[in-house]
Amino acid sequence: MAKLSGIEVYKNLPRTNCGDCGLPTCMAFAMQVASKKRALDGCPHVSDEARAALGDAQVPPMATLSLGSGDRVLTIGGETVMHRHEERFQHPPILAVGLSAALGDAEFAERLDAIEALTFERVGRTIGVDAIAIRHDGVDVDRYGAVVTRIAAATDRVLLLLCDDPHVLAPAVAAVADRKPLLVAATEANADAMASVACQYGLPLVLKASGIDRTAALSERIAAAGVRGLLLDPSPSHVADAVGVMIQLRRLALEQRVRSLGFPTYVDVGGLVDATLDLDLDADARATAEMMAGLSFVMRYAGVMVLDTIEPWAVHPIVTARQDVYTDPQVPNEVEAKLYEIGHPGPEAPVLVTTNFALTYFTVAGEVANSKVPCFICVVDTEGMGVLNAYADDRLTVDRVVAVVREQGAMDRVNHSRLIIPGLVARMRMGIEEVSGWQVIVGPDSAAGIPHFLHTVQSQYQAEADTEAAG
């Protein structure tokens, strides 16, 4: 929820400093209201207009709505900020892939399978395509209904019904209304009929108009017809236009609190790419263009986006970026401080130390994995600080490192006593050696040097071991 400033509250108070609220001035009271320590009712003299003005500001600036049913209920909207560092992005956009009702049977089944297969495992979570956008593409009412029913039976993914002919759409909606599909789209031409379908089943509806002004006007009209969940598609003409329009819509909703625009957005990425590029592009170039456009709308405020590509290499970056950008920046970027095993480390495996700053850990773990040298990584709890900051802040000290490595039992798992420390804290080497009796090896300054470093270190000790064995 957007926060009211003290000044905004103050402007709406009587400004008489009468003291009846228990505070000496209206300004003092306003500050308390802004910081939610007092309710507006604490002032007995607030006018009805002021209450209305300030009450309205308590309503979230962008509606939250959900699609789908059962285990697949997905929520979008409810966003409160322009940039993730200000608070966090609330609900990642729903990613749909288009499936044309006009496809022949074999091709249709093949594509449906391909869409179903678009899932990826990342940091313990399954991410992928959430929804199927069933494009009408001019088929007759029976065919569209049959296709929609067939897809509904074949997948538990969220359904988007892309059909702007209410007569074709209505029977299909009736068949799958319990799946809470998204209806796409109401236009100036069909708004009344589409709104009545949406109202009848209580379903969310995308509205499509040309430009922001007409989108706002159409939104008012549809809201007046009683539709609750709306998504906005101001039909941008190309990718750059769409980025600009998304930013302006978000500001109008969050900063200007334009009620008619306080809804999540809908972007037909496939359609935009077709509008932007020349149509002779080969399939790979087109998939790449969709990927790049899709990433732009992960960064810039899509609520629902529809792709047409089913190339895993084009979809994977989008769903990964979505997961990354929508992580909560307020949560310290930490991984659990424990002993990690990369590969299947045996008794001769190197033992590395690093911090629990997630970026540090993931980079180190990634480079270790690249090296293909199985390793143990002791992660020290530095409260999410990177190596240099943790060192400067006394969270990465000689005693800490020795204690943590001992606690985690890393040295009990190996047949040597060599500990690799980050190159950035090379000066801890002597200290650790003195306290622990281990042999400390200084690793590279940057994680990129880890593979080369590990190979060198391993071959060196292998050679030593061989000499020993031979001697």
Binding site: A240, S296, W313, P317, A321, N370
Partner: protein
């Protein structure tokens, strides 16, 4: 129809425009120059500001044949990678980035440990082989970079190269060289606004002009903490536009090195059968990483794969449509 309110922001200042490369007219030998920065709003916010210079794409070569590059990166340059001049010419003629980046990986004391003279010889050979503006990126070992850059900066005197990187610890040598030989400098900091600012302050206090600095806030690959860097870049850029002159520099992302370090780019088809054609996947991961940073504020991205260069340039072109674009 209700009249909608205006949402354009009036930012307090524009980001410095930094020109890299000097043509014979400017006293150098480059066939063109590339200017980055100069923007008066957040990236691609064309409705409220100008982006007089589109985000630029540099392509990276190394002074010795790369040992840790996967086959996908080596294939397009396999026949030229032990000859930096030939490699540079291949990049200029066939792959057509906006700039060429030479990484002096061979100088790494933990690796080939090449001498400053050898590095300077490579720099000169590359300069003579191509007309593209040059970025010269050190091996990352602070002491060694401080030994190598004097020879390299002098050999490329007057070419207005972009040299990197300086940090809190080694800003003196490189800023002095930049001033003496007319180069631009990359200021590095570890994903931290205050440290980014601190390096800039040190460089400026040492007498280096602030409009020749480029911020490198460190880079992470897509899927590996990119969001931290995205937020740092966005905050740097917002800070610069709001009027903080100590962060109002263009930003560079060292993308190729990070993107090609992760399994999503490198894995073979056998290792990751569900991730799609590896020939497309690696360049896609690299181009995707670049685009996210460009949206966050990166004005220059350094890439490795020819297809990623091509894809990034195409995406930038599309995003620049409708811009009031001076370039």
């Amino acid at each position: 129809m209700t009249l909608l309110p205006q949402v354009r922001r009036n930012w307090a200042r524009t980001i410095h425009a930094v020109t890299i490369g000097a043509t014979p007219e400017d006293g150098g030998t480059r066939s063109c120059t590339v200017t980055i920065g100069g923007t008066s709003a957040m990236p691609f916010h064309h409705f409220e500001g100008t982006m007089p210079h589109r985000p630029a794409v540099a392509m990276e070569i190394t002074d010795i044949p790369p040992t840790d590059w996967p086959e996908a990166l080596r294939a397009p340059i396999a026949d030229v990678m032990s000859d930096p001049a030939a490699w540079a010419a291949r990049v200029e003629n066939d792959f057509q980035p906006d700039l060429l980046c030479v990484r002096l990986a061979g100088c790494d004391p933990n690796g080939a440990n090449r001498t400053p003279e050898e590095a300077a010889a490579v720099a000169v050979a590359v300069r003579d082989a191509v007309g593209l503006p040059l970025v010269i990126w050190g091996c990352g070992d602070l002491d060694k970079d401080a030994e190598v850059f004097p020879a390299v900066a002098e050999a490329l005197a007057g070419e207005r190269c972009l040299l990197g990187t300086i940090s809190e610890k080694n800003y003196r040598t490189l800023t002095a060289l930049g001033t003496a030989y007319g180069h631009r400098v990359i200021a590095e900091s570890p994903v931290d606004i205050n440290m980014a600012k601190q390096v800039n302050i040190l460089a400026i206090d040492a007498g280096f002009p602030e409009d020749r600095l480029v911020i490198y806030p460190t880079t992470g690959a897509l899927g590996y903490g990119i969001e931290y860097v995205v937020s740092i870049m966005e905050r740097l850029r917002i800070g610069g536009l709001k009027g903080d002159r100590l962060v109002s520099m263009p930003i560079v992302g060292d993308i190729g090195r990070e993107a090609w370090g992760v399994k999503e780019a490198r894995a073979t088809l056998e290792e990751a059968p569900g991730w799609g054609d590896p020939a497309m996947r690696g360049p896609a991961w690299e181009a995707a990483t670049a685009l996210i940073y460009i949206h966050a504020g990166a004005d220059l991205v350094i890439l490795r794969h020819p297809d990623a260069v091509c894809d990034a340039k195409a995406a930038i072109n599309q995003l620049m449509a409708g811009a009031t674009d001076g370039s």
